[in-house]
Symmetry: C2
Subunit: 219 residues, 2 copies
Amino acid sequence: MPVGLSADQLPRLDDMVTNRKSVKRGEALFHAGDAFQSLFAVRTGFFKTRVSSEDGRDQVTGFQMAGELLGLDGISSDRHSCDAVALEDSQVCVIPFSQLEELSREFSDLQHQFHKIMSREIVRDHGVMLLLGSMRAEERLAAFLLNLTQRLHARGFSGSSLILRMTREEIGSYLGLKLETVSRSFSKFQEEGYLEVKQRDIRITNEEGLRALVNAARC
Amino acid sequence: MPVGLSADQLPRLDDMVTNRKSVKRGEALFHAGDAFQSLFAVRTGFFKTRVSSEDGRDQVTGFQMAGELLGLDGISSDRHSCDAVALEDSQVCVIPFSQLEELSREFSDLQHQFHKIMSREIVRDHGVMLLLGSMRAEERLAAFLLNLTQRLHARGFSGSSLILRMTREEIGSYLGLKLETVSRSFSKFQEEGYLEVKQRDIRITNEEGLRALVNAARC
DNA sequence: CGCGAGCTTGATGCCGATCAATGCATGTGG
DNA sequence: CCACATGCATTGATCGGCATCAAGCTCGCG
């Protein structure tokens, strides 16, 4: 679990998260409606989360990579409210939520860290709302790519090249666009010299350009 | 604070929330960048929260009425990440966050309730993302109105008529639409007999119709 | 080698943005 | 009390970005 913690907590925390679980590419870690018992920390692999409305519509609400937490949505009603699907063969730590609450009553550091993580998820969602509510297609894609590379970079990967784990359609669903629009934007970025795109293989050749695009003020 | 709590906690909780604060219409309870110290529970009145990007764009991320909580965004970085602005003269309870964490280490019910509230906010945000990412203008407005009336109804107000506390522009910002589109959609709803609209005074005359609109599947 | 899932690219159309004018309510000063 | 200013809402006309429909392409895999 990606938290700052002090020495005496470590063994207890270790106990809590001994339980591991593997999820194959394409399979769900949990579905909307499933009973909520545990949070999950991604150890390896890559996930998407997805909500659906009664009619067929659905929306990708996030992509999660190593070190990120899944399942926070389930606390509110003791049932998960979204699906979490592995985009590649993955492994997670199972964190029984009642144990987490118990431990965090003992260790205020852990408690505070957990609250920060939930809050960060709320702040992230607000950022996505801003993106969905007020950016145009290319700005959305640029913001998405910069966010992805930043997170990958923080995990020791290159800050300038990446392999997409998700399809154009999934990117589109996340960004509120159709897959064709995503594809066209990729092509546009390539023409403009911001990216080299080979299917899911992306190299950023002009990060400043992308950044400028996102911050393109009141045009 | 709108939580289920057991008897022995009440006095302690009361102590925590004795501090009140009034906010006049148009004033901010807090701004993005302000140091975070407390959460706020709306006692009376009505708020909007709003995030801004570096360029001028901003996005309304929510509307809060009596009993709802403000400030959860601030936990993640010890600074608020959005503005909270009163849409009418309002009063809030100040809830010092460190005290809340302390108390919730003692009382697991309170702890769990608080976690549920944060999780509910995440689930709500996912719903808004679905709305912004995949609904068309009229569906968005219908969903918004149904959500508002449902929350008002839960507070003892009429389930079928309401007075909007926010402008068309604020509704539009929340729904990812321009104010003209919001206005046109109101007019359309009136023509179709779903609503009676007199400026900010709304009467729902065909709730089922609105509900059907939101659930209009894969058209 | 051929199939299928995913991706690209083109042509067309529609929804909602934009631009612009008018209407309506509230408030203010002469 | 009226004239006028101001903020918000409505409505019309036009435009543009993205969706939609459609065709071909790429690559991995049985």
